[in-house]
């Protein structure tokens, strides 16, 4: 493999990794607080991309505004999903909540097929994101650079919110001990809503950028990235935001690099994430950056 092609793969891998990281953050935040796999997260990601598509093509918004409005709408959508599907089951066994999550995910997917139609739609890509940049002999589409930058910006904003603001402190408290946080007069339901809102916002950002990079929208487009990003969150240590980012990058890098170096394994690309998951769960179930927990009687 020549060095140019390697760099092209590397750039691709980094941008895919940052997309995974953005979506994985949503999983890890929700899991940290509710101990729940939000199966619908991948579908919220899909909804974000579709919202943008309709805002740009039907409401003729300029793309900058459309991105922000779509992210805001998706944020509300995520909060609504939590209200309807998860909140009524707060005190039920975890399995019930998980079935509800699976149901919610399928409901959103099927509703999307009915409303948006099953035919793929072309995502409107503004010119700035489609420009080809030549660096010596390596030519890369500009969106490949923009994605990691935007991911980093949002990561810093998020870390600031969680570590420096009062809401962030409340979030950390709820994730450490749900009951104790409630006793300390923290409005747990509000915090959970905010968590879902932030997670869905980031999923929408991920969805928009996914659309810019792979401009084809399908109602089931969130299924595979959703599962893979959950795996990324588990690999990094679930409940840990830096871990989710690390996991996302590891998954994106290894997925692209394995195909780059061993092209005969291309067909197994989707299986790779699951193999990684099973290895991690067996060797280090708490993930790379996670802390192990004892089971209490």
């Amino acid at each position: 493999m020549s060095i140019q092609i390697f760099f092209q793969h590397l750039a691709n891998a980094i941008s895919l990794g940052s997309l995974y990281a953005l979506i994985a953050i949503g999983y890890t935040m929700v899991y940290g607080i509710l101990r729940l796999i939000n199966f619908a997260h991948g579908d919220i990601f899909m909804i974000g991309a579709y919202f943008t598509f309709y805002l740009v093509t039907m409401f003729l918004m300029p793309w900058g505004v459309a991105f922000i409005v779509a992210a805001g709408l998706t944020c509300m959508f995520g909060i609504a999903v939590e209200r309807v599907a998860y909140r009524p089951l707060r005190d039920y066994p975890r399995i019930s909540v998980m079935i509800s999550a699976i149901g919610a995910s399928f409901f959103i997917e099927n509703l999307a097929i009915v409303i948006f139609g099953g035919r793929p739609k072309a995502f409107p890509v503004p010119d700035i994101f489609g420009k080809v940049i030549h660096l010596g002999t390596v030519s890369i589409v500009s969106v490949t650079f923009i994605i990691p930058i935007i991911t980093l910006i949002f990561l810093f904003i998020l870390l600031f919110i969680i570590n420096k603001t009062k809401t962030g402190m409340a979030m950390r408290a709820v994730s450490t001990d749900y009951e104790a946080a409630r006793l300390m007069a923290i409005d747990v339901n509000k915090i959970i809503s905010i968590t879902f809102g932030i997670g869905s916002f980031l999923a929408a950002v991920g969805g928009i950028m996914w659309g810019l990079k792979y401009p084809q929208l399908l109602p089931l487009m969130g299924l595979m990235p959703g599962l893979k990003c959950f795996i990324a969150a588990v690999v990094g240590g679930i409940g840990n935001i830096k871990g989710a980012v690390l996991g996302g990058f590891i998954l994106g890098l290894s997925e692209i690099m394995i195909i780059a170096f061993l092209p005969s394994l291309t067909g197994y690309r989707d299986a790779f994430a699951f193999i990684l998951l099973i290895i991690i769960l067996l060797v280090r179930p708490s993930g790379l950056l996670g802390q192990s927990q004892m089971e209490k009687v």
Binding site: L89, N110, G267, F274, P285, E295
Partner: protein, 348 residues
């Protein structure tokens, strides 16, 4: 009392047999297929309920085991000529090229293959709990599907296998379903069933009572994959064609819907729900096509059927967690009690 009950049970079995005969004579091939599908979903639902309902392990890997069963059975029963027709891209592996088994041994072997895979997967996966277990089993079933898509010479890859002999008839599908029901009832009444239920209720307490938790979990998982394999094989020979895309997560979702709707941990509930869901799936096809009301034509919305099913699952889990039967089972005594209560209340 006990004698009366067994007489009643015997009468019930005879009645069911007569019903099968009647349906076998009168149904056309479309209705027949749905009728067979009901039985297959009973088998599949019960096998998932054994793990998810009775043992309390949340597994989402059913489609993978079904794929193993369906492919094993298909490869064993397809005639050599048919195989040559199917594998036109690359020739089939030589040791499979000339096998043409009768249905029964092929069905058994497909169940066993699925059970072996289940056993191998169980050892690492069952160390996990709750949602991790769910995602890991889902992962394994995806891995199985991806492998089947890529092993061109073994499974014909994404092209799938066509022209499977239509062995599945009323006697096979309902026979297997009946055997599964009887097996499950016997299992649940015995010490193994009690042990499994105790693991579901409280794992640590069960362990303290001297139950080998891990061993029981593995047994439950292996048996479940055995029946899933057989169900998959029956499904393949009912439809006549299989391909890896068939065994996506959606298939597991359908079975999960049956288990949840019937009541997690009830054999009777699963049987009823399997029939209801399978029939509804066909009846609601009306929604996908246009309906003519005479005055106006309601335009059908393709895909609305699945929206209703996912909404149904959500509704059951949100508002009526017990499902149809909760953890209760059908028995003549409880039916008699209920009838007497209705009689006592009398007509209004």
């Amino acid at each position: 009392m006990k004698r009366k009950n067994s007489v009643l049970s015997f009468a019930g079995v005879v009645f069911c047999l007569l019903l099968l005969l009647l349906f076998n004579k009168t149904f056309d091939s479309y209705k027949m297929r749905i009728f067979n599908l009901c039985a297959i979903y009973i088998t599949l639902g019960l096998s998932l309920n054994l793990v998810n309902g009775f043992t309390g392990l949340f597994s989402l890997g059913h489609a993978g085991f079904m794929a193993v069963g369906a492919y094993t059975c298909a490869l064993l029963t397809l005639s050599p000529a048919n195989k040559e027709m199917n594998f036109f891209l690359q020739p089939i592996l030589p040791f499979l090229a000339n096998t043409e088994w009768p249905f029964f041994p092929a069905l058994l072997v497909s169940g066993l293959c699925a059970a072996i895979i289940g056993f191998l997967i169980a050892a690492p996966v069952l160390r996990l709990k709750d949602d991790y277990l769910a995602i890991a089993t889902l992962g394994f079933s995806e891995i199985i599907r991806v492998i089947f898509t890529n092993t061109q010479r073994l499974t014909n890859g994404a092209l799938g296998l066509k022209g499977l002999p239509n062995y599945t008839n009323v006697w096979w599908s309902w026979g297997v379903a009946a055997l599964t029901i009887v097996f499950m009832i016997r299992l649940m009444r015995g010490s193994y069933g009690k042990a499994l239920k105790s693991i579901r209720e409280d794992e640590i307490a069960a362990e303290a009572m001297g139950i080998d938790v891990f061993r029981h979990k593995v047994i439950s998982f292996t048996i479940s994959s055995f029946f899933a394999g057989i169900g998959g094989a029956l499904l393949g020979h009912l439809l006549g064609t299989i391909d890896p895309l068939m065994f996506r997560f959606l298939l597991t979702f359908n079975i999960l819907l049956i288990v949840v709707l019937g009541g997690i941990g009830s054999i009777t509930g699963t049987v009823i729900a399997a029939i209801v869901v399978t029939v509804l799936m066909e009846v609601l096809r009306v929604l996908d096509s246009s309906i003519d009301f005479g005055l106006f034509v309601m335009k059908g919305i393709p895909g609305l059927r699945m929206v209703i099913f996912s909404a149904l699952l959500m509704a059951v889990i949100l508002f009526y967690q017990r499902g149809l039967m909760g953890t209760n089972e059908f028995s003549w005594d409880s039916l008699g009690k209920r009838l007497r209560r209705i009689k006592k209340r009398g007509p209004k």
